[in-house]
Each structure stands twice: as structure tokens, then as C-alpha cells.
Symmetry: C2
Subunit: 198 residues, 2 copies
DNA sequence: GTCTATAATTCGATAGAC
DNA sequence: GTCTATCGAATTATAGAC
């Protein structure tokens, strides 16, 4: 047994530095977008030398790829009362945004960085579609429903955190849930044109 | 009567050049975002020298300000049957986007350009709010309703034209209207939590 | 592992000839 | 009005000393 096995999953000496870089990168990318967030500024925030960023992440693209790792952490929709799916989803997304600026960084970067839009597509097709598919709507409509949900959820994020439309920013979370919840609910389980079971 | 009056509102010799610059600028800003759309590239598209752009518009910011002039051209909502307001608005926005890339340019630039987000805020508060206020809902809720409409409309534009989510891109206009129309209708005239007049 | 120095681009903007 | 030439600044990325 050699020394490398004596230290399983050894915490590298510079893991703290790497984490600091990622933290600073996420904040800068979220605040300034991809192009305006410079490696120099990120390094300054993390209190390290700019060349360290290159050493650890290879390039600016590599840094962004690492900083933009994101999981929606969608709850198990089968555990939610079927008539409260929309409400639950909106509440979940609000919490997810306020606690993690990664999605805001992705959204802001999506217009300039070729990989960011692709990343968002994957997140909101793979992760969301599989969640939508877990309960028994017609599989043929799953993609469309997930896309509609994404359009409202991302639009809410855009107007609340990027464009910052005053009325949307001012709405308390409970009221956002009350207004947008029914929209998501209909996209998930309803039909178009409001010809619902009225 | 002197010569200046003999040629009222004279079309300057270079108006064609100015228009070509604006056309190229809108396309580049829409495709690449503010930072990546360079004056050099715009000038090349317009088949003119880069210095002409500076001469006509002073700076890159000035050029963007001129290129991002946008009017929602909202129809008179009082002429629309009250139960078809949502449908009419969604249809109008779809047509407005497909025919003019200015809004896409604004949306793409909103994350990098300080003035673009401000411009969108004005467009979607002033223009939309006044339209929402024209019919008789409680004035206290006008701003909120306009904000909610903007969140869904801008989210639709974001997922359809910027992020390009496949299911949203693939939806024919009629189906977008059928699905999203009722959402806008409820934001305009309904109440939250789906406790509508059922 | 960390930092200095700098290479190699690229961009917005300016000056001035024609 | 139009174009050539170029400045000055900022960026990513690399090479190499310590």
C-alpha cells in the first residue's frame, strides 16, 4: 500500500483557492455577464493572482463551464398534491434563485456566450422534461408543456433579476406564487384556450 | 425665399448610408449582443468604413441608442372583445417580433449594456402600462398586471428567439396563442389563485 | 504553488489627407 | 463626405523566475 492510497480523496492544498475562484466567478458572471466579467476582476475578488485562474481552469471558457454547473434540484412531483403542482414549482424556483446566483449568471451570459444558451437548453429540457414526464400526462405533450413552463419561469427570472421591472421586483414571493402558480398548473395539467373542466 | 426653403426636409445625400448602418447594427446587436457586436463588423456589413459610424453616431453607445429605438405599436385594446384581450396581445407580439429584430437586439443586449435594460423597463412599463390602464380594472393593480404580462411575453421571446428552447421554437404561432393567450387574459382581467368566475 | 513580465490580439476612438 | 493610418487601452493567454 503506497502513500497515495493512504490519503484517499485527499483534499488538495489549493482547494480553498479553487473554491474562492468559483465563488468570485459566479458573482462576477451573474453581475456583469460573460464578456464584461474579466479574469482580472475575478482574481482580484478572490484575492489571488490572475494567472492562477488560468492554471486551475485552463481558460475563461473553462472557468465559466465550471462556474455554471447547475442543478434545478426539482422536488419529486409525485409527492405533491396534483392540484398544487404549479404553486409548488413556482415556490421552489423562487427559493432556488434567491439562494444561488448561478442561474442568474447563466441567464445573463446566455446572450454572449455560445455555451451558456446550450447549458440552459439542457437544464430546462432534460431536468424539467423528466420531471414533467413523471406524472401521467400524454407523453406526446411533455416537451411542449415543459417548454411553456420554462418560458414563464425564465421570463419571471428575467424580469425580476436581470431587467428588474419595478412591479415584478416589488412583488412579495407569496403574491408571485398566487399569480404565476395557476399559469404553471395549467401548462402542466390543463389544456389550451381555457376550455378546461369548468 | 431662400434656397433652404426651396428644399423642405431635404433628404441628405448620406441618408442611405445612415440607414444601412442602422440596419446592419440592429442585425449585429440582435445576433451577437452589445459587447460582441463590433463597430468594425457592423461597418463591414454595411459596406462602409468604420470611421463613418463614429462620424454619424458619435460612439458605440450612440449607435446602439439609435438602433434600439422601439415602439411596441400596441393595438387599441378598447377595440378588442374583452374576453379576447390575451389572445390579441399574444398574436400582436408574435407578429411584432418576427418582423423586427430590434426587440431581440434589446433583449440580448440587456445583460451587458447599462442602457438596454433601462430601455426595456421603459418600454414595458410606460407603453404596456398605459395600454393596460385603458380598460377599467382597479388602477392600483395596473402596474402589477403589466409586470406579469411582461414576464410571460419576455419569457416567450427569450425562450423562442434567444435561448431557442426546441419545443418553444417548434410551436406554430396558433398554438402559442392558444396556450399563452389565456395566461395573458388572466393577468389582465382575472384574479390570482384561480378563484375566477367559474 | 505563486507571481512578474510580456506576448499577441482586438477594440473604440482620433487625426488628418484627399 | 470618405478613407488611411494609428493611438491608447484593455483583454486573454503564455513563459519563466523564485
Amino acid at each position: 500500500m503506497d502513500m497515495t492510497e493512504a490519503v484517499p480523496a485527499r483534499p488538495r492544498r489549493s482547494d480553498a483557492t479553487r473554491a474562492a475562484i468559483l465563488r468570485a466567478a459566479r458573482a462576477r458572471f451573474a453581475a456583469d455577464g460573460y464578456d464584461r466579467a474579466t479574469i482580472r476582476a475575478i482574481a482580484a475578488d478572490a484575492r489571488i493572482d490572475p494567472s492562477m485562474v488560468m492554471r486551475y481552469y485552463g481558460s475563461k471558457e473553462g472557468l465559466f463551464a465550471a462556474a455554471a454547473e447547475f442543478d434545478l434540484r426539482l422536488p419529486d412531483l409525485t409527492q405533491v398534491p396534483p392540484d398544487r403542482l404549479g404553486e409548488a414549482l413556482v415556490r421552489h424556483f423562487l427559493n432556488r434563485w434567491e439562494g444561488d446566483e448561478t442561474l442568474a449568471a447563466l441567464l445573463r451570459a446566455a446572450s454572449a456566450n455560445p455555451g451558456a444558451a446550450e447549458r440552459i437548453r439542457h437544464i430546462f429540457t432534460d431536468q424539467l422534461s423528466t420531471a414533467v414526464a413523471t406524472f401521467g400526462t400524454d407523453p406526446a405533450t411533455t416537451g411542449r408543456r415543459a417548454g411553456l413552463v420554462a418560458s414563464q419561469i425564465l421570463g419571471l427570472a428575467l424580469t425580476r433579476y436581470i431587467v428588474r421591472l419595478p412591479p415584478v421586483v416589488a412583488m412579495p414571493p407569496a403574491e408571485v406564487v398566487a399569480w404565476v402558480g395557476p399559469t404553471i398548473q395549467r401548462y402542466l395539467t390543463g389544456r389550451p384556450e381555457g376550455e378546461g373542466p369548468c
